[in-house]
Symmetry: C2
């Protein structure tokens, strides 16, 4: 390399300063501080082919400190990716620019995961590293042999999810994961001394990690530290001592550079300080060509990999696997037929286990797990042996009591590709991992959340464990498919729907308690439309009862009573409001005609059910916290029984 590396790094600094200034918004401090580290990483370590950002065996680079997005955009641009162009960077933070405020995988190839919510990038990277080792165990070094790199800041390391993520990575000895910590001792509020006193290196070491330190502005020292990390079998943390906003002579080392433009004067001073004479958004040719050369090694490696793949016996299997197309097979079909032959009275969590038994036999890409509730979430099957540090070929992960870490890891696996992850916890603990569920949805990833104990129906564990607002609050989240099946057939249909979603996550809400079989046909996936008429009125229709999950059988019993009183009552099983809302107006009006009384029944908040009942309909649910008691006592206490509901409907009908 003939150019001083500092000059190569200054290209990142200049682009970061200029783009933030042009947008009049953004975070220059981190890119300027970590520019030297990023330059070393791209020049000598990161395996990438800028002409194919989706190459399966590329290294994964995760900017966990996502506010420093200009670090990602600058390096991708300099390294020769088709996007972002310099015009994209000029349009940093403008509508329709792929250079969004925070890096977004769905806006720009080369961005491996959407970051910004702190800590989650690192935790997502753990899932990528798991997926890499798992596929390596199946397909060998010839096809799968890459690393996962993370740039993380103090915020990422202070967030609780960081503890869960590194605990999991340390336990699984994910030695091909390296975290480059931007150790700049500055957070938004000021010095890290304001809020933390921990010895981060010692904490990581205690969690099974290898730890190195380096001067983050000394390329030789950065290389030494990375080489040491690569040589160690454990996951590695490298504390890169940096100066935030490096190069801005009056503001560097302070929180003033963190999240605001430097201003024209300081940028001019920084250009002088850095010896950067080029105009804004101009990269001198020698620097551009040196950066562009970084990608050549990766192109060559990619070419060699292509040859190995072409000659591999496993080529078709591997390619199919990575394509993400999965289709339930014969075992699943046989399972469905069995449900018709012998309709079981089971909890939907048990029905889910049975379904998974078939699906995991059919689909080797399914990798399951639970946040220490395996026997309660019913997530383990005979096909899924444990994935451990000694056997990465396993397909079941004991995530420990780490709901948030589990969810983020699942995002990472899905983003990595080749793995379709599902994982379980209690529905109420969706609150513990909600921020990761949101990133599943935003990132358009097929992750399946198996959330059991989905109402007061769980009984004695009481209000801390009983979801009330959870179903509706999750339905409010964009691009998340919430599915609440009513029996074993619907559970199987919901699983098929969840796996068919290639660009959104699903959440199955499943009961602890047994439910009677309601469906006796499997010729068509009726759940596909979200809500469907499970039973049509016999007498002239006066009421449509809309219910979900465990309350569908209750609705049917109520319908019996209403029919007996001469009032025809449809029962609509509303498995998924999201899917129902996607149907045509005609279909919706057919299911929920506006000229009859519409009644919703769900053992959760009534908030939001007005969408289907209107203001004039009736809504039965629970608008307070739950209570600790046996299930039947609770349903009676909260008025969710045939005897409590039927008279109210009759009264509304004028009887």
């Amino acid at each position: 390399m003939t150019l001083p590396e500092r000059q190569l790094a200054n290209a990142i600094r200049a682009l970061a300063m200029d783009a933030v200034q042009a947008a009049n918004s953004g975070h220059p401090g981190m890119p300027m501080g970590m520019a030297d580290v990023a330059t070393v990483l791209y020049s000598d370590y990161l395996k990438f082919d800028p002409t194919d950002p989706k190459w399966a065996d590329r290294d994964r680079f995760v900017l966990s400190a996502g506010h420093g997005s200009m670090l990602a955009y600058a390096t991708l641009h300099l390294a020769g990716y088709a996007r972002p162009t310099i015009d994209d960077i000029r349009n940093f933070r403008q509508l329709h620019s792929p250079c969004a405020g925070h890096p977004e995988n769905f806006e720009l190839d080369g961005v491996e995961t959407t970051t910004g919510p702190l800590g989650q990038g690192l935790a997502t990277a753990v899932g990528m590293a798991i997926a890499e080792r798992h596929l390596n165990a199946l397909y060998g070094d010839d096809l799968v042999d890459h690393r996962t790199w993370v740039v993380a800041g103090d915020g990422c390391l202070m967030e609780g999810i960081n503890h869960e993520a590194i605990g999991l990575a340390g336990h699984l000895q994910l030695g091909r994961m390296t975290v480059l910590w931007d150790d700049n001792k500055i957070t938004i509020d000021g010095s890290t001394e304001l809020s933390t006193s921990e010895d981060i290196a010692a904490r990581y070491a205690a969690t099974g990690w290898h730890v190195e330190n380096c001067d983050g502005h000394d390329p030789a020292d950065i290389r030494r530290a990375i080489d040491a990390a690569l040589a160690d079998p454990r996951p590695s943390l490298i504390a890169c001592r940096t100066i935030i906003g490096f190069g801005a002579p009056n503001k560097q080392g302070t929180s003033a550079t963190h999240g605001a433009p430097l201003g024209a004067d300081e940028i001019a001073a920084a250009r002088k300080e850095l010896g950067w004479t080029a105009e804004p958004f101009v990269i001198p040719a020698d620097i551009a060509s040196t950066w562009a050369a970084f990608g050549e090694k990766g192109k060559s490696l990619h070419s060699e990999w292509n040859n190995r793949l072409a000659n591999s016996e496993k080529k078709k299997e591997f390619t199919d696997r990575l394509s993400g197309k999965i289709i339930p097979g014969d075992t699943f079909k046989a399972y469905l037929d069995g449900l018709v032959a012998e309709p079981p009275k089971v909890a939907t969590r048990k029905a889910s286990e049975n379904t998974l038994g078939a699906l995991t036999a059919d689909i080797s890409a399914l990798v399951g797990g639970s946040a220490d509730l395996t026997g309660s979430n019913n997530t383990k099957t005979s096909s899924t042996k444990p994935l451990t540090k000694d056997d990465y070929s396993g397909r079941y992960i004991y995530y420990g009591i780490r709901e948030f870490g589990m969810a983020a890891a699942m995002n990472g696996m899905a983003l990595h590709g080749g793995v379709v992850p599902y994982g379980g916890t209690f529905l109420v603990f969706a609150d513990y991992c909600r921020a990761a569920i949101r990133l599943s949805a935003l990132q358009q990833q097929r992750v399946v959340y198996v959330m059991t104990h989905d109402s007061i129906g769980l009984g004695e564990d009481g209000p801390t464990h009983q979801p009330i607002e959870h179903l509706q609050s999750l339905r409010a989240m964009p691009n998340l498919l919430v599915l609440r099946p009513a029996d074993a057939v619907e559970t199987a249909e919901c699983w098929a729907l969840a796996l068919a979603q290639e660009s959104r996550p699903s959440l199955l809400a499943l009961t602890r308690q047994n439910l009677p079989p309601l469906r006796h046909d499997v010729t068509e996936n009726l759940c596909l439309k979200g809500g469907y008429r499970l039973r049509a009125a016999s007498a002239a229709r006066k009421v449509v009862l809309v219910a979900t999950g465990s309350e569908v059988s209750l609705a049917i019993d109520i319908a019996d009573k209403l029919e007996a009183a001469g009032h025809g009552a449809d029962v609509v099983s509303m498995v998924s409001t999201a899917l129902f809302d996607e149907q045509s107006g005609a279909y919706q009006a057919d299911m929920l005609p506006s000229d009859v009384l519409t009644v919703s029944i769900e053992a959760g908040t009534t908030f939001g059910w007005e969408r289907y009942t209107g203001r004039d309909g009736l809504r039965f649910g629970i608008d307070s916290f739950g209570a600790s008691a046996p299930i039947d006592d609770l349903y009676a206490h909260f008025g969710l029984t045939v005897d409590a509901i039927t008279p109210k409907i009759l009264a509304k009908l004028g009887n």
Copy 2:
């Protein structure tokens, strides 16, 4: 003490076994494992007066591993608290029993905090320990001089919030906090080796904690460890090596004892093993009297404390402070008057800062903070100097990037009493602390969440930072007051409302962007009713526009257009749906008459607005994720402008 301590502990074991068996549900393993530790704690260390569970200077005991609730119920009963009675324990996990599945502060005095959601008890205890040191700094050892004890399990220590909590406690050197870790090496899924490999002692040490180990079944060793903890100025973790389900000869040491009744045979065998001959729910007299004597020391200490309080110059101030009654005073009134005199065009986050300037001057109990967004959340005032390890009298906490830890600590402060906590983060990061917000609501605690950047109005930071579903998903939570003010006057009114709530938390959703003044009167708190007619129609009323926060001024502009077209339009500012829903039907019908078109406008999901608009109304909002762009571009992109909305309303009106 004449009885073997093992026998005293066996009383806990017997009650736990028998109550779980009677309920046919519950968790015997932990109470049986930690019985010896609990017995030592109650006999020699815990400061409590069973005749006054609310004594201000009592030690706080937090059962973070809340599933082991029978440990709490057994010890409270044995130690002589009025409740639970033995009949309460017989009714463990039954409807209306104070002995709920998990300990609930609102069901039973002596339960300091509701636990069960793992990790949060420990994190809540941090807040209690902060409150203790803060009040100690103000009122001295004579009045405030107590400790905070936590029993935590492996689950608590694996949860991410544990990292945030101990980081905060270590940083603030909360030396009067002791965590007794039930180190039994078992989780629900089996051995801890399935999911974790960390050196917990080393991790705590790295975070500024003192660590001890002891044999959790050897009273002398437990005492040695506790004594060492008390002698150390740092917060302490004591790893109590225990056998889960101790005494159940065939099941102890396995996850089989964790969360299910032992069964009649195993209970009989355990009685034999433990030498426990009493019938179920019977405590032999000598054991009962020995346990009852544990409380005598505390009664005596309480009596001495009463004398000191009676003679204290600060008696009235202290008593008022602990009563929880707070009333905004003259500074706040002057601030309100100033708003009328000079209505400011400010962001509501800035209006909140200005309001807080007055309130923190008036009310010394207010203790604020932010999860590293002080300058963005506008949470610091001149009255609130930092609370640090060197000065606990401070009133502002730099919580660091620990949203969940902050929220749980605020719960602990509120539960402790004498402190009214508020804390800030971005609204989108409510997802990071949602599980603690839920516990604020469930525990009926006055905690104020200051959540800024409450919509796409934050602009360029993009979809990871823009709340969409958050307002509605939080409104769906029982007992949480979500408040979204539209200008500076409403912001002040909302703060007054939040502080007036003695049994529920509030969440203020505040803008990043400036908003025009809309209100010019402060004689009556109009926000009190949740929604009110900010402007009445001039022409004959055809439309009611219902809007919140930053969209209220938009609604007024739209109303102008509608009026210009001859259609009378009311504008209702819906500051709080929760408060509005509590109003009389007549009031609601007056605000939202059913005979005109109702239109909702909020820069978030439209989900749930049907409650007010009906199915026939119009709802303007955002039902997808946001985007990264300047604010005006975003409002235009998502169709939330006068020009985009007005024609749709006119079309609906048939024009």
